[in-house]
């Protein structure tokens, strides 16, 4: 198998694992919330896997790439949940009287 494709598959599976771990600790309240978080966390896991691995000073092995994609996906899952909550809590000044 092409090495780039294999690395991409590992990142995607790591991100999916990260989403599943995050789902256990912070389940969304609606199906829309689930879609939002999955759409954000899986690509984030793929994109930020290298950043997470370098930040944690992990060697470039297959398992470390998978683990760092998992960590990146989990962080983005919690981040998007916090952002959604903040967005819901914030109201424009003209609607504050409601």
């Amino acid at each position: 198998m092409d090495e780039n494709l294999a690395q991409m598959l590992i990142r995607v599976s790591g991100s999916m694992a990260g989403s599943m771990f995050a789902l256990v600790y912070e389940p969304p309240r609606s199906r829309l919330g689930l879609y939002r978080r999955v759409v954000v966390s899986i690509p984030s896991g793929v994109i930020f896997a290298d950043w997470a691995r370098e930040t944690l000073k992990m060697a470039e092995t297959w398992f470390n790439i998978c683990a760092s994609a998992t960590i990146a996906a989990m962080i983005s899952w919690f981040a998007i949940g916090t952002l959604i909550r903040l967005a819901k809590a914030w109201k424009p000044p003209d609607q504050k009287a409601d």
Binding site: A17, M20, F21, L23, P27, R29, S30, R31, G33, A67
Partner: protein, 165 residues
């Protein structure tokens, strides 16, 4: 299989038999937990205990069980079961990053949580039996009935699996 694993299997079978009539969903969770336990034991046997990364897959299996319970739970005691599975995933993570060790400490921590899950399900059933046998109201042991009612309290399933009405 060692004696601890046999004891756990016997415990799981006894709890399943005890709860089969009162709450069949508990048997499903025990069966899923047992499958996760068996699969993670096989992974550890196959790859050996020299490295910590099989804990990642063990955590993944526990997470799969926890997601099923989160998606389909209906009662308060199932929420407590979710907390126990969250604890198991944390133990796997802690071992993965070498926060706990040696391997025996990890196994003991997971064993305690497995027994806690069985004790929750079995304990709920046994308290229910005692409470029914005593006839709850006005009895000095009436608090048992309150425990059962608290554990059996209906909880709204977290809605991501169902469409909002």
């Amino acid at each position: 299989m060692n004696q601890y694993q046999i004891a756990l299997v016997v415990g799981a079978v006894l709890v399943s038999l005890a709860t089969l009539h009162s709450s069949p969903r508990a048997v499903l969770w025990v069966a899923l937990g047992a499958m996760s336990f068996a699969a993670s034991t096989l992974i550890w046997r196959y790859f050996g205990t020299g490295d910590t990364w099989p804990a990642f897959f063990a955590g993944l299996l526990d997470a799969a069980v926890a997601v099923s319970i989160i998606a389909f739970h209906k009662r308060q005691w199932e929420r407590y079961l979710i907390y126990i599975f969250q604890g198991m995933i944390l133990v796997n993570f802690a071992y993965l990053v070498r926060l706990i060790g040696p391997h025996s400490a990890y196994v003991i921590a997971l064993e305690i949580l497995n027994w806690a899950a069985l004790a929750l399900i079995g304990g709920k059933t046994i308290i229910g039996w005692i409470s029914n046998a005593l006839g709850a109201r006005g009895h000095p042991m009436g608090y048992l009935n309150r425990i059962v009612r608290a554990l059996e309290k209906e909880k709204q399933t977290i809605g991501f699996i169902h469409r909002a009405k």
